[in-house]
Symmetry: C2
Subunit: 338 residues, 2 copies
């Protein structure tokens, strides 16, 4: 019997969805990207789903339920944004164990509803049931886009610019901070967690945002990315996905990777390499995209968008260029679901 961890999450999905045949005319893109694409009519309908399990994806010791609900919705919106599309509806399924009260579930829903309001997404259905153990949250998000607006992972071309938004590693460092303070508090329940000056990192971990603002801005500016993903497992892992699916290599520059000041300070304090955090720490939900060199001038004025490298021939491989010019092969060390 094969153990699942040998295959890993992506291996398992590939294995299970191998040789799937699509029979519906409306299925334009099935398994293999951030979301499926359905061609019901002229516009395209997108579908994505995420499952969050207590003890695996979240720890209620330090995640308030309202934040958890907010994040559970955002993670799905982000998958739709990663296709250069607009999230429009969600359905929510909850498995709830006896230790949760109605008030608890209301808090969770408040977070989900707040996210929906902020992003103009409608909560249109769901399923709730009891669970033997812990909390299970499954959200499916529907989105829409015109056919030629949709961006897949497989369109990156040699010489394309590689861009990312916001800053990277902050959500991971927020998690390290929460974990550190949880252990301190266990030893000394009378103390106060040392969060001062690090609130931004907590927010990035507990209350991430989907970059729908960037999707809109790219559209306004007339930039059409050639490939795009959201950064949920870490920059390295996502870049490798784009390069594998686009059959190309890449070079990104260490000194171009956007890093927040608070993140750098905490990494120093905790003796972590901040670049490693940015490359491999997940859950930033920033966008990673490639676009034609000819879009360079249009990219310059865009706030919160950073050019971090370029696409190369496949034989070059995927490399990080260090501050002293040294080349280091990128590895997918991102968060592993198994």
């Amino acid at each position: 019997m094969a153990e699942i961890k040998e295959l890993g999450e992506f291996g398992l999905i590939r294995h299970l969805t191998d040789k799937l045949h699509y029979t519906q005319k409306s299925t334009e893109k099935g398994v293999g990207d951030d979301a499926a694409v359905l061609n019901f009519h002229n516009k395209r309908t997108l579908v994505t789903t995420d499952l969050l399990l207590e003890g695996i994806h979240f720890n209620l010791e330090y995640v308030p339920l309202k934040h958890l609900g907010y994040k559970a919705a955002i993670v799905n919106f982000s998958d739709i944004c990663a296709m250069n599309a607009t999230p429009t509806q969600i359905v929510v399924s909850l498995g709830i164990s006896k230790r949760f009260s109605v008030e608890n579930i209301e808090e969770l829903y408040k977070g989900i509803r707040l996210a929906c309001e902020r992003y103009s997404v409608d909560l249109v259905g769901g399923d709730t049931c009891s669970s033997m153990t812990g909390l299970t949250i499954s959200i499916t998000c529907i989105g829409e886009a015109k056919k030629d607006e949709i961006v897949y992972r497989n369109g990156a071309k040699e010489n394309d610019l590689i861009c990312c938004t916001g800053n990277l590693g902050s959500a991971f460092l927020g998690l390290q901070l929460l974990e550190r303070e949880r252990i301190v508090m266990q030893a000394n329940p009378e103390g106060t967690p040392a969060f001062e000056g690090k609130e931004y990192l907590l927010e990035r971990q507990l209350k991430p945002e989907a970059r729908l603002d960037i999707v809109k801005k790219l559209r306004e500016t007339g930039i059409h990315p050639t490939a795009m993903m959201d950064i949920s497992d870490g920059l390295s892992s996502e870049l490798l996905h784009i390069c594998t699916q686009s059959n190309c290599g890449c070079a990104i520059y260490e000194d171009k990777i956007p890093i927040d000041y608070q993140a750098a300070v905490l990494a120093e304090e905790m003796n972590l390499n901040i670049v490693t955090c940015a490359l491999n720490g997940g859950e930033d939900y920033e966008l990673l995209f490639t676009c034609s060199l000819s879009d360079y001038e249009k990219l310059i004025p865009l706030e919160d968008v950073y050019m971090i490298g370029h696409i190369t021939k496949p034989e070059y491989g995927c490399n990080l260029i260090g501050r002293n010019g040294e080349e280091i092969a990128l590895k997918a060390q991102g968060w592993q679901a198994f």
Copy 2:
């Protein structure tokens, strides 16, 4: 703090989704029916989702994984059929604990894929992750229909005929049989389970079907139901939903309720009232619908469709007319999720 079981599943959903505001023009119908209805274009897109948890919805001691996968897909197809629509795509999320091997998950997927093939539904995406405890299956199904084909729960009118398909109570009795034999086998592991002559009941429990055939037949025959649901929680419970949402009462006749011969025999053997099983046993996934009296002639030749009663004024209430003409108020004693 309020306990969730005080509200029940429907109470909790109503509570949580109270005063939801929809902002997307494409949201035609949100929470409150078998599926949401999205108006992206001319045709309508439907979305429904179901969450299945080990120890709550299934017991792997007697449910083979392939059957479980098949049923998990069918349950969703059935929700789309219950809107008089056609299921077209699903996304599948799995939470998998360490005790499952790749071969186990393959078996589960074989069942899901078999259901997809049989119903021409495409599996277009999903999410898999590890779970601390047991197996979690979340499936979201997309479907389509023309606007005027869609049937909601709220359209039943006085004097409408009440119809159901197939037969009722068989899936519940299949479950009782499995449970009985499981206990017998525990006491005597050398024995053989006494399933002979009762295979149909096992099949109804382990491998239900969605009545897409009936949806197609109704369309061919030109019958447009005024209200429709699938029978997942029991006939009583579903009829009460239709009557509440349509603001009407109903009368159904005990001797018209379709019951399978094997089901009747087993009920006798187990000292269960077969009519109670048919009214309150869930998981039959047959269709319950109402239609205009003027469709009577068209209904007669339809195979596997039974007229079991009619819609009344709301003040009459919801009643079962017994074999001797006695009236018994219908109660929702169906399967309770909490």
